[in-house]
Amino acid sequence: MTVETAQSRALDLVPFGAAQFPSLRQLRPVLLPVATAGTVLLLWQAVCLVFRIPHVILPAPTEIAGELWRILPTLLKEAIPTTLDSVASFCLASGLGVGLAIVLTYSPLLRDTLYPNLVAFQLVPKVALAPLFVVWLGITSESRIAFSTFASFFPVVISAAVGFEGADASTLRLCRSLTATDWQSFRLVRFPFALPAIFSGMKIAMTMSVIGVIIGEFISAKAGLGFYILYASSRMETAAIFAALFVLCMIGAALYGAVALAERHVRRHYGRR
């Protein structure tokens, strides 16, 4: 490359070392939504101040932040069981779900028998069963984990089964022609092909297991963020509710983000976007 073209290239770029930093235009997809959220918060604050909204109805963001700071130790303590239960039920649901999906893939008899029933279960309001788990397992962490696993298990089985089934038929045929064993064709073809579907099921499961744990804590608990939220609402401590919701949202987003990151990592390993 000649010096001239190198210079003209450099002139094309935005000055001040923009090569290292993303330009404003590239940041637009991040900045715009963040700015919108910020504007909403400002409006909220303004409305609370101008119209003197009672604290019980709607505390201003600054008040919520203050409350959050004040009760943060309590909230973090309550967050521990909620997080642990959510993670436990997510892991159980993912493991059991993918396991069952593998069984369904390799046993046509079981598939024909179970799959339609699984899909039917997907449609019924499983939340209604939450109190039954309390009857069965008592007011314990196990009962919440069991309920939450039950609620988040179905999306994983169904999407994983669909994913295994949808593996590219001609690649599978290629495996057969190479006399690959079932295990080889599973490991080398079916599993990588099913990864996007498995992860989309797991992402749903992650949200569902947090929801399941919260519902469990609503109806039967002496600890946890769900319990705390209900407790605060019975005492009309709206700012405390918002603070607890904030912590819960952070946990929910972090757990979801962890699954999404794992997905990126695994998919990159398998050379797919």
């Binding site: 094309d12 770029l13 935005v14 090569a19 330009s23 235009r25």
Partner: protein
């Protein structure tokens, strides 16, 4: 605006140029790190009623050029005039055919043909006969009420030819309209296009990868280089009209094809420098 097919044949108009492309360049993402120069100082003009084919390697900027002529992409530098006035945006006197048939899946073949009429808010009833006649003309008699998924790929492409002709544009831009079809259907479509052309002569720009297709259909062939695209060859095809598909077997035809192939290979080489 001369809307009917017949007016295009008026000899007075034949002396002026229909499409003029003057020193046109196109740079995508100009001024950023990933700037792409797709088209570089292209010049050519097309008289009224001429059929021009554009040949070039994949990714060289043919579609970009065509979209600029159609007013769907802005030029970075230079000027494009159609019917004597500079292009500033899409016009109804220009019809475009895309690589895929882009039919609306929920509309019948007839309604798909009438789609432009509806968009242009012309009286749909008046064009009914015309649309039916076009469908019959391309051999889709009796398929007017079928939906796209009930038609084969070739049939869908025929519907989209009818759709491009029904509102009687002066200029027809075609971007590899038959490249998704198999060889036999493609020959058939070429024959059909040749027939239609003989009936409704209008100015056309036709992008293709197939040398034979270009020579068979066009009055003139332009050859483009690797990106950034420039024109390296402007060849007039001497065959008289009406043409028969059988000219494809003649020696002259094959000599022209050979010459063009040589030019393209040469330009490939030049493009890499």
């Amino acid at each position: 605006m001369p809307d009917s097919f017949v007016q295009n044949r008026v000899p007075a108009a034949a002396t002026t140029q229909c499409v003029e492309v003057i020193e046109v360049s196109k740079i995508y993402h100009g001024g950023t790190q990933n700037a792409v120069e797709a088209v570089s100082s292209v010049n050519f003009s097309v008289p009224h009623g001429q059929f021009v084919a554009i040949l070039g390697p994949s990714g060289c900027g043919k579609s970009t050029l065509l979209m600029m002529v159609g007013g769907l992409e802005a030029v970075t530098t230079g000027r494009i005039e159609v019917d004597g006035s500079p292009m500033a945006g899409p016009r109804t006197s220009i019809g475009i055919m895309f690589q895929d048939s882009t039919l609306l899946p929920w509309k019948s073949a007839l309604d798909n043909v009438l789609f432009p009429i509806k968009v242009l808010k012309r009286p749909v009833q008046e064009y009914h006969d015309n649309a039916h006649a076009l469908l019959d003309r391309v051999g889709l008699y009796g398929f007017a009420q079928k939906k796209p998924h009930e038609l084969s790929g070739g049939m869908r492409q025929r519907v989209s030819i009818c759709r491009a002709l029904v509102y009687e544009p002066n200029v027809l831009l075609m971007d590899e309209p038959f490249s998704a079809l198999d060889a036999i259907t493609r020959d058939e479509m070429n024959g059909l296009l040749l027939d239609l052309w003989q009936q409704y002569t209008k100015t056309a720009l036709f992008v293709t990868h197939s040398i034979r297709e270009a020579v068979m259909l066009a009055d003139r062939v332009l050859v483009m280089t690797q990106r950034p695209a420039t024109i390296v060859e402007d060849l007039t095809i001497p065959f008289a009209r009406p043409r028969e598909m059988s000219i494809g077997e003649s020696r002259e035809f094959n000599e022209i094809c050979g010459h063009l192939r040589e030019r393209i290979e040469h330009s490939h080489f030049e493009g890499r420098r």
